[in-house]
Every structure is written in C-alpha cells, then in structure tokens.
Amino acid sequence: MIDVINLKKSFDNTTVLESINFSVKKGEVVCLIGPSGSGKTTLLRCLNLLEIPNSGAIKMGDDQLTFSERKFKKNKLLTLRKYSGMVFQGFHLFPHKTVMENIIEAPLIVKKQSKAKLIKQGEQLLEKVGMIDHKDKYPDSLSGGQQQRAAIARALMMEPAIMLFDEPTSALDPQLVREVLKVIEGLAKEGQTMVIVTHEMNFARRVADKVLFIDGGFIVEEGPPEQVLDNPSHKQTKTFLQLLDDEQ
C-alpha cells in the first residue's frame, strides 16, 4: 500500500529525516514513536505531501512520486494525496461550519458529489464516531474529544485508502483521550490502513501491527509491538521507553 524509499527531508540546513525506508501493507496499522523533534510528524506530513521531501520516493497504490532537489512538479501532488486522509493534533475543523458542513465540504467541492447523498453518508459516519447528536453544532461548542472525532469523520468522508494520525490525543484532556482512541481502534478492526504518530504506548501495543521507533531523523528500530515496545534491541529505544515509564 505504501512504500517509502530512501526519503530525505531538510529545512534550510537542518536535516530532519535521513534514509527513511519502510512499507505499510493494506490493512496494516503502523505506529510511529520517538522523542519530540525526532522527525515523526515531519514523516507523516511527507506522506500527505504537506511537506515535500528533498529526495527519495513515495509509492502509494499504483502511483509513485520521486523527489529531487531540482525537478518536482507540484501538480503531481494531488495524485498521491488522494490516497491519504490526515487527522491533526489540533483538529483544525473549520470553525465557521457546523460538524455536518465540515465533513461534507471537501467531497462536495472536490469530488462534486450530490449534497443529499453526502449528508446521508455523513450521518452514517457521524453515527460511527458517536457524533450524530452534534451534527448541527459549531466546533467551538464541542469538547476536544468531540472535535477530534468530527475531524476523523471529515478525513474518512474522502474515503482515503490510508488514514494518517498526527498525535491525535496529545491536545486532549486525559479523560477525553479514551473516546478518540476507541474510534481509532474501531477503524483498525475494520481493516483500515493507518499510520499513527502517538505517545500512547498501551494504545500502540493494542492496535499496531508494526511499530517504528524514530530518533534523530532515522528509523532506529522497527518490528511488531511486542518486540519494539517490550524487548527493544537498541539502546536509544530502551532509553526512550524507560523515560516514558518514569514519567508515568
């Protein structure tokens, strides 16, 4: 489903990602873990083309985009972006639109689908994420957890092959984290392909097929959660997990 080949990303003279190689199979859930500033969010943003890698290639489905310092056509972005939907740490719902208007906006404008059909589809999705009672409310009147669940529904409305989550619970109060994780776990059970940046290790253990530990812009360790999270082989992974344990 996704093949990331030798990806490199730098901002000015600072290299943020270096020699990134990994694959995600259809239906697989991959969790990206690592310390702050390690490059995991940048990697996720590269997958959605919100950041343009300096070199390397990303293959999604049948489409591949090769990046180089000199030649890159921005109009090719859309071809690859169609594969993924993004959920942000800060939700970024459109504040001037109700929950229903938020979730039908993109398919209405981009895919030019009929509004009646989209509202029906939207209601089913909102039911699924437990937000149907809030469909006519504006984001400002919702809790963080409710906003994030609406944001998940908004991304799902575009029917992406891959869902990308950037620390979906980091901006939430502890009591609201569970309701969002439950929705994501539900998607995992349905076989939705997902890449998730998270600090919730128990969640990663439950939901992930594969865990990638990133530090200093490199993938240090990768494997099933029981291997990376419970028996890490690299010193950096052990130190990071130990620090997380101490904090909790």
Binding site: N48, L50, L78, R81, K82, S84, G85, M86, F88, G90, H92, L93, F94, P95, H96, K97, E105, A106, I109, V110, K137, Y138, P139, D140, S141, R154, A155, M158
Partner: protein, 233 residues
C-alpha cells in the same frame, strides 16, 4: 481673548431656524457625499483584495508593485492626491469632466491601500492549520481561499473595514475643494451667504456623526452575524 460667558451671542453659535431652512440643501449634499462614499468603498474593497493578494505573492513582479502602491497611497495626503488627479493630470491630457468622478477615483485609490493592509492582515491571522486541513482534503487554492479563509478573515476584518468606511465618508468632504457639491460644500455655501459659519459647520458635523452612528449600527449587526459560530458553550 475670550468674551465673558454672558457676552456670547448664542444665536450665532447655533441658529436652529437657519439649519431647518437649509436642511434640503444639506441633504442634497449628503446624497452626493454618500454616492461618492459608497462607490469608493466598493472599489476600494475590490481593489484592496486584489492588492492584498498581490502583496502576499512570493513573486516580486506581483508583490513589488503592490508594496509601492500601498506605500505611496498611505504616505501621501488624500487632499494632495485629489489635487494631483484633478488639477495635475490635465497637464498630460487626462481630464475629469465631472469632479465627482475625480473624487471617487481619488478616494477609492487612496483607501484601497488601507483596505489591502486590513485584508492582508486578516488573511494572515487565519491559523495555518486551516490552510493545511483544506490542503490535506485535496482542496485547491481558490476553493480554500473562497470557502475557508475569506469567511474567517471577514470576521476579523469587519471592525477595521468599517472604520475605513467611516474615514471614507468623512474623507468625501475633501472633494469640496475640487467643487464637488457635497455636504461640506453645501454648508460652506450657506455659511458664506449668511456669515453663520459656526451654525453651518456644526450642522455638517452633526450630519456626518449621524451617518457614522448608522454605519456603526450596521457594523454591530454584521459582527453579531459573523460571530454566531463562536462562544456558544
């Protein structure tokens, strides 16, 4: 320097009868002031939006002319600019047959620069996450701008834009210098004829004030409408 209080000739300070008698003439002048103000505001908003977008462009060919335009218009007095248009341009063969048109052109161009800066700052104050969310949902630049950014920027730009509109209404008084028979011009005619300057200029000031109160009322109503999605908790 000052007369003592009981020496003030109150009838020269504000002559109600004169104001009542000259009200039709003043309202005729007000009508012309409002025509100039409304047309100028519409042109200044449209031109301001174009200049704001040019100013935000990364290409110098767009942002440089926009920067020079804004700098010149904000750095020169409106009256000087109106003089250039009406008395200066005929030297190179450009003549305004109607001073009202010259007034509208002058006021529009001058205030377009202020509108451009208000629009630019409002667009920039919409959080970056809104652009990114729309981008990740495959929305293009025009759709994102029109459906996501502009509605949010409008809410932010409303108070300063209405302040500009009030400035435009008051700025129309400068066109009296190029013989536009607007409100201040009408007041000057009566004042010149009757020597009741104080009465007529206070009357003109009160009319400008009432117009601005009405504009302020519309501002409040629009702000309420655009804020409806906020603070509902």
């Amino acid at each position: 320097m000052f007369n003592s209080f009981n020496q003030i000739q109150w009838e020269y300070l504000f002559n109600f009868e004169l104001v009542r008698d000259s009200l039709p003439l003043l309202l005729q002048g007000l009508r012309i002031s409002m025509v100039i103000a409304l047309f100028s505001m519409i042109f200044a908003l449209l031109l301001g939006l174009v200049i704001a977008i040019m100013r935000m462009s990364k290409h110098w060919i767009f942002h440089l002319p926009a920067r020079v335009f804004i700098s010149f218009m904000r750095g020169t007095p409106l009256l000087v600019f109106i003089f250039i248009l009406y008395y200066g341009l005929p030297v190179i063969g450009v003549q305004f047959n109607n001073p009202i048109v010259a007034g509208i052109v002058g006021v529009s161009l001058n205030f377009a620069a202020y509108n451009a800066e208000v629009i630019r700052s409002a667009i920039l104050s919409v959080p970056r996450g809104q652009w990114e969310a729309a981008e990740s949902l495959q929305m293009g630049f025009p759709e994102t701008m029109w459906r996501i950014i502009i509605p949010q920027a409008t809410r932010i730009a409303l108070p300063p834009t209405f302040s500009i509109f009030m400035d435009i209404v008051k700025g129309t008084s400068l066109t009296s210098i190029i013989t536009v028979n607007e409100l201040l011009y009408s007041a000057r005619i009566v004042a010149g004829r009757t020597y009741e300057s104080m009465t007529m200029y206070i009357a003109a000031a009160l009319i400008y004030w009432v117009v601005c109160i009405i504009i302020g009322y519309f501002q409040q109503r629009l702000e309420k409408r655009y804020n409806r999605y906020l603070n509902q908790r």
